[in-house]
Symmetry: C2
Subunit: 373 residues, 2 copies
C-alpha cells in the first residue's frame, strides 16, 4: 500500500469514521481504522460490531489522492488520528513496509506506526439486492433530533433504547419513549417502501452528527438485522434492535380538558429557572398552576428555597388546573419543538399531557405528570 | 438588606469571587458568598480559608446599584450563581426577609433562597498599616504565567507547590521548581520594598485569571502570614507557604558546551509530534540529536512505533550532543517563552539545560534531562 493525499481530506475521513471505533474490546483490530487503497480510491472504515462508518475518497483535485500501490492496513485509531492532525505539511504520504509497519510522512517528519493485518478486520453487514428509500439529509437529522432524547437510557427494556421507525403509505414516523415521556415525529415522503425497524437511539444520534444540513438525499436500506444509511461518500451501518416495539398509539389523548397556547421561549425560560430549585431526587418536580388567565410556574425545596414566576397566556380553553412534572422532560420537549408558540393539552393532573408547535402537528411530545414527591 | 442592581454587574461580581468559594467543607458559610450592602456600595466576598476574593461595586450609572437598606447575608454560592445568571430581566432586586430567607426578583420571577447569618462568615486577614508595592497588571500576570506551571503538584515538599517571590534592589523575581525543572522570571521595577515570600502556585494562577491585560496598577501587600493583591475594585488574599525556599541560584549553569538557536514554533511542533509516540510511563521521553548542522527530534516505543523529524538550526556553537528529555517539560517551557527564536544551552547529556528567548534573559527555563528509561 502506498499513496499520497491532502491532510484535510485524511483528517476529515478519520474524524467521520472515528465514532464507530470500538473503545473497550479484546479484539485489537476493532480499535483501529481500516484503510483500503484501490485505484483512484481510498476507503476508511471503523466498526465496533454495533455501528460501522465508512468513508470513500475518490481522487480529485481537492483531496489530491494519488495511489501508487493498492493495498490495505488497520491502524490504531487514537495514534493515527493524533498523528495526522499534528502533521506539519498539507501533503501526506503513507506506505506499508514489512510486518505491517506503516510509514506516515509529511514535510520533514516521518512516523512509523505498528499496523494490523487488514484480514483481522470484521466484514461489514451485506446489503446486496436490497431496494432503498430516499429522504433529504436535513429531514432525517430533524427526525432524529426531535425524538432521540426520549429513548430509554437504562437497558431494563432494551427495545426502548431504540427509535421505532415506521414507513407506511408514504408516511415516515419516528417514535421514542422511555415510559415516562414519548416523542413522535411524522413526515410525508413520496416513494417510500413499507417497512418497520427499531434502531438504537445512540447510533442514530451519531448519524445525525455527520448528516449535512441540506437536502442531499440519504439512501436507507434495511435487512432483518441491519440498516444502512448512505449519504454522499459516507455509509453508516447499524444493527437493529430485536423484539417488538410497544404499541403506543392508544397512549396519545385525542381530546383535552384544558388547552393553552404560550410562547415556547418564555415557557422554557420559566421552567429552566424553576428547575434550579427542583431536585434530581424529587424527579426535578416543577408545578404549573392555571387560574383564569394566569399561569404560574413554581418549585420549592425545604433546604434551598422556592421560586415562582408568571407566564403570559396567549390563549386558553377549558378548566383551571394544577399539575406537576419533571422539568427536564418538558425542557427537552420544548427545545426539540423549537417553536415560537406551543399548544399544551391537558386532561387533568394525573394524565399525560401533549405539547405541539402551534399550527403544526407533525411533532408530538407526550409527558407523564409527577403525582407526588 | 435591600438593594437593586443591574444583572451584568451582579453576574460579574459572583463570577469574580467564585473561585474562592470552598468546595468541600463542614462549615456551610464557606460554601457561600457574603454580600455586604452599605450606603452606595455592595461588597461580594468568598473565602475558603486559603484564598479570599472580594469585589466592591460602588453605585454608578452602569451598575445601577441602589441601596435601600444596608445589611448583609451569606448565600449558597452555586444556587445564587445559577439563579442570577438565568434571571430574565436586566434589573435585579434583592432583600432579606425574616430568618435569612432572601428574595431575589427580576421581571415576573421571584426566588426565595435560604441564606446564612453573615456573622458565620470568617474574617479576612488584616493588612492595616502595611505599605504596598505597585506593579502593572499585565506584568504580574506574565510573571505568574511563565513560572506557575513549574511548581510541584505533589505535596511531598509543600514549599515547592509555591512560587518564590523576591523583591530586592528594585528587581522582582518569580521562581518555581518541582525538582526536575525550574522557571525563573525577573523584571526591573522601581520603588519596590525589599521582601521575600512563597505564595501557593494555585492561588496565583487564579489571580492571573482575573488580572486585566493592561497596565492598571496592582498593589501588593505582605504580612508574615498572608499576601494581598488589590487591582481596581477587586482584592485577592492568599496565605503564604511556611518554610524556607531552596537556594536555586547554584543550579543555573553559567557556561555551555553546546549552544543553539532554533525557531520556537518549529521546535515546539517537532517535540509535540514526537510526544505522540512517547509514553507517560517513560517520562514522555523524547530524544534530541545534534550532528554538525542537523538537529533530529525523535522518539520510539516498542508497541506503537517511532517518529523522527529534522529541525532547522539557525545558529549553533560547541560540541555535538545526544540528549533525552521529558517532552512535556520542554513544551511547557517553550509555550511560556512564546518566542520566535530561542537559545538552548547544554552542558552534555546528563546536565540540566537552559532555554531562553533569543536576546532576552529575563525569563529562564531550566530542564533536567531524562537519563534512561
Amino acid at each position: 500500500m502506498r499513496f499520497a493525499i491532502s491532510k484535510t481530506a485524511l483528517v476529515l475521513a478519520i474524524q467521520t469514521v472515528s465514532k464507530a471505533v470500538a473503545v473497550r474490546t479484546p479484539k485489537q483490530a476493532l480499535t483501529g481504522i481500516l484503510l483500503e487503497v484501490r485505484e483512484h480510491e481510498l476507503i476508511a472504515t471503523a466498526y465496533d460490531l454495533q455501528l460501522a462508518i465508512q468513508m470513500r475518497i475518490q481522487s480529485d483535485e481537492h483531496n489530491q489522492l494519488t495511489v501508487l500501490d493498492p493495498g490495505s492496513i488497520v491502524l490504531p485509531a487514537r495514534y493515527f488520528s493524533d498523528i495526522v492532525r499534528k502533521l506539519p505539511d498539507t501533503q501526506i504520504t503513507m506506505q506499508v513496509a514489512s510486518n505491517y509497519m506503516t510509514e506516515i510522512s509529511s514535510g520533514k517528519v516521518q512516523f512509523h506506526l505498528h499496523g494490523i493485518d487488514a484480514d483481522e478486520f470484521p466484514e461489514l453487514p451485506k446489503f446486496l439486492g436490497i431496494t432503498g428509500a430516499q429522504i433529504p439529509s436535513s429531514t432525517l437529522a430533524r427526525l432524529i433530533e426531535t425524538t432521540a432524547f426520549a429513548t430509554a437510557t437504562s437497558e431494563v427494556r432494551p427495545i426502548l433504547t431504540g427509535i421505532s421507525i415506521t414507513c407506511k403509505n408514504d408516511e415516515l414516523t419516528f417514535i421514542a419513549t422511555d415510559g415516562l415521556r414519548l416523542a413522535k415525529h411524522r413526515v410525508v415522503q413520496a416513494d417510500l417502501p413499507n417497512w418497520e425497524a427499531v434502531i438504537p437511539g445512540k447510533s442514530l444520534v451519531e448519524l445525525a452528527k455527520i448528516l449535512p444540513d441540506n437536502d442531499e438525499p440519504v439512501e436507507i436500506y434495511l435487512t432483518p438485522s441491519h440498516s444502512l444509511f448512505v449519504c454522499g461518500q459516507t455509509s453508516f451501518y447499524t444493527r437493529l434492535l430485536e423484539g417488538t416495539y410497544p404499541d403506543t398509539s392508544r397512549l396519545i389523548p385525542t381530546s383535552a380538558k384544558t388547552e393553552l397556547v404560550v410562547s415556547g421561549d418564555e415557557m422554557l425560560g420559566a421552567i429552566d429557572r424553576a428547575a434550579l430549585i427542583a431536585r434530581d431526587r424529587d424527579n426535578n418536580m416543577v408545578r404549573l398552576e392555571m387560574e383564569q388567565d394566569a399561569i404560574t410556574v413554581s418549585s420549592s425545596s425545604p433546604e434551598i428555597g422556592n421560586v415562582s414566576e408568571t407566564v403570559q397566556v396567549l390563549q386558553r380553553q377549558g378548566e383551571d388546573l394544577q399539575i406537576a412534572f419533571n422539568a427536564r422532560y418538558v425542557m427537552d420537549a420544548l427545545r426539540a419543538l423549537n417553536a415560537a408558540e406551543v399548544n399544551i393539552r391537558f386532561n387533568g393532573p394525573t394524565q399525560a399531557f401533549v405539547i405541539e408547535k402551534t399550527g403544526d402537528s407533525s411533532i408530538l411530545q407526550l409527558i407523564s405528570p409527577v403525582l407526588w414527591r
